[in-house]
Symmetry: C2
Subunit: 326 residues, 2 copies
């Protein structure tokens, strides 16, 4: 089996690559080849017996999506995107990459050989939903994005559904919660601070909190995010039906609850490294979102952590070798 | 005031042009210029004191949408579209015209002078909604198109909202019910028979009914459709809020009720000119749709006929000079 990951150099892309290579297979079939694409060449993984190709390419550029599927990968994970903050700041770039790139990929698949209908797993986002909300966000909440990023993801979901209905591709879109705790440097996502306020204090550094502690958000660990993608690849058309995109579960909690969890696990000294510095732009993009129900995804077997404490523990285990700066 | 109508040669476009010229103004301002665009040059209206330009252009072609707004029209009615049946039969053409054309227009507006933010009234469709439905379609029903046409309209709605939110345009999308009774020749719309079964018998001709009499659908007369467009142009940003597209009201009835109304108005002899000839392709595209609630549109002042009988009477009055073939 040949697996293509677009956006393989990103945090989730790298972790997905690692997981697939560890597993050695997907859906019970061995992986013979992996193609890893990103705008910078993804790191070539070590210790994989099969063939690996790491390519620097931008699938929104003419011809690049054709080239990406030249060898007809069986399963495509499409994770490449400009994050929310950047898509809001650079309107053209957001549409070019987040909409144009995905549309190009779908067009390349459609125009390929008549019998080529790969499985496509697309990383969508809860940003497809916007206020006003009720008490929770149900699976059938209407698409009301309030950001350009959310608009681009919502449009991609509509394209996935139509291209799937027409039989060109076998797609599934999963609306990921905010991934927390993101390792490494902060990225340009407006939601980056949700990770920062856990990651930096555990590393002995100060973190900026740009929103009030009452802000509620939905999170999943990087390992859960990878789990969502792997599980999505196992679903068949009958299970998905016409609505090929779905909201996956997450841990819904306030920033205050995040900080309380950090205190419980790492102590008050660590939690005291968080400094409140309000930023209206970030508050506006992040918004106020209620709990996502994700009933359908749970029924389809998607799983996530049970409590925010587990998300912090996953970070300490996966990224910090079990230790932190007390 | 300068008004641009894109898709001006179509049935609704011609009726809208006529209505605007009759009214002589819009939103209390006199119309100084009308630009009429369609893939074939729209008929030049007679008896209008202002300036009229009728242009053959395809706004999905490079440069054409820039050209269309060159003189910075104050109000743009964008009605141009490939109909549902054709968008389903010709995938590429549907996306090129229905999505590409609208996206081009929005891009031309965005890239125009910094202070150019025209009002844009977009003809969307109830096809943005798809089964499974509940008892009615509420205003906040999720976007679940089950056709390529519906997908294209839903994507345009998302674009309208984002371009409006960003301040590039002042858009409103109205989800039109099926327009009935369409005068003239049948078009390629899968829903064309809803008009045909009234129009042809009244003209002394046989009509084909491709779906069972139990099929329910939502209708509005051409004059109501024009009324929706005119009313939409009068709404301001505060009235519309973030969700710039809305479902306008219609008369919901079964095909059987349509036929009963025809019998009441024109007699059993006329209604007997309908012949049932099932067509699965049409049944699949038309689907089964419950009543649209259109609560928000009614609150915003959109009005429609009260009963299907009035729709037939409007046709006899507006198109047949008050007479029909008994």
């Amino acid at each position: 089996m040949h697996i293509l990951i677009i956006g393989a150099a990103g945090m989730i892309g790298r972790k997905l690559t690692e997981r697939l290579l560890n597993d050695g297979g997907l859906n019970g079939k061995p992986i013979g080849k992996m193609t890893l694409i990103d705008i910078v060449a993804p790191p070539a993984p070590v210790g994989f017996g099969g063939s690996v190709e790491a390519v620097a390419a931008d699938i929104s550029a003419p011809g690049e999506s054709d080239r990406a599927i030249r060898e007809r990968p069986d399963i495509i994970f499409h994770l490449a995107a400009v994050v929310s903050g950047e898509a809001e700041a650079d309107f053209e770039k957001g549409y070019r990459i987040n909409l144009g790139g995905t549309h190009n990929l779908l067009e390349s698949i459609r125009k390929a050989d008549r019998d080529y209908h790969p499985k496509l797993i697309f990383a969508s986002s809860g940003a497809v939903f916007g206020a006003p909300f009720g008490a929770t966000i149900a699976d059938d909440f209407h698409l009301t994005p309030r950001t350009s990023y959310g608009t681009q993801k919502a449009i991609c979901e509509l394209l996935l559904a139509d291209y799937t209905r027409r039989g060109f591709v076998d797609a599934v879109g999963i609306r990921l919660p905010t991934i927390c705790v993101r390792p490494g440097k902060p990225n340009a996502a407006a939601s980056g601070f949700f990770s920062g306020i856990i990651r930096e204090p555990l590393a002995g550094q100060e973190a900026i909190l740009p929103v009030p502690e009452t802000v509620t958000h939905t999170h999943a660990s990087p390992r859960s995010a990878v789990g969502f993608l792997i599980h999505a690849a196992s679903l068949n058309r009958e299970q998905l039906g016409s609505n090929v995109s779905l909201t996956v579960p997450g841990i819904n909690c306030t920033v205050g609850e995040q900080i309380a969890a950090l205190k419980r696990i790492a102590g008050a000294r660590v939690a005291a490294r968080i400094r409140y510095e309000p930023d209206e732009r970030i508050q506006r993009i992040v918004g106020v979102k209620p709990r996502v129900e994700a009933k359908r995804a749970r029924e389809l077997g998607f799983t996530v952590e049970n409590h925010f404490d587990e998300i912090i523990l996953a970070h300490i285990e996966d990224e910090l070798g079990g230790k932190f700066e007390g």
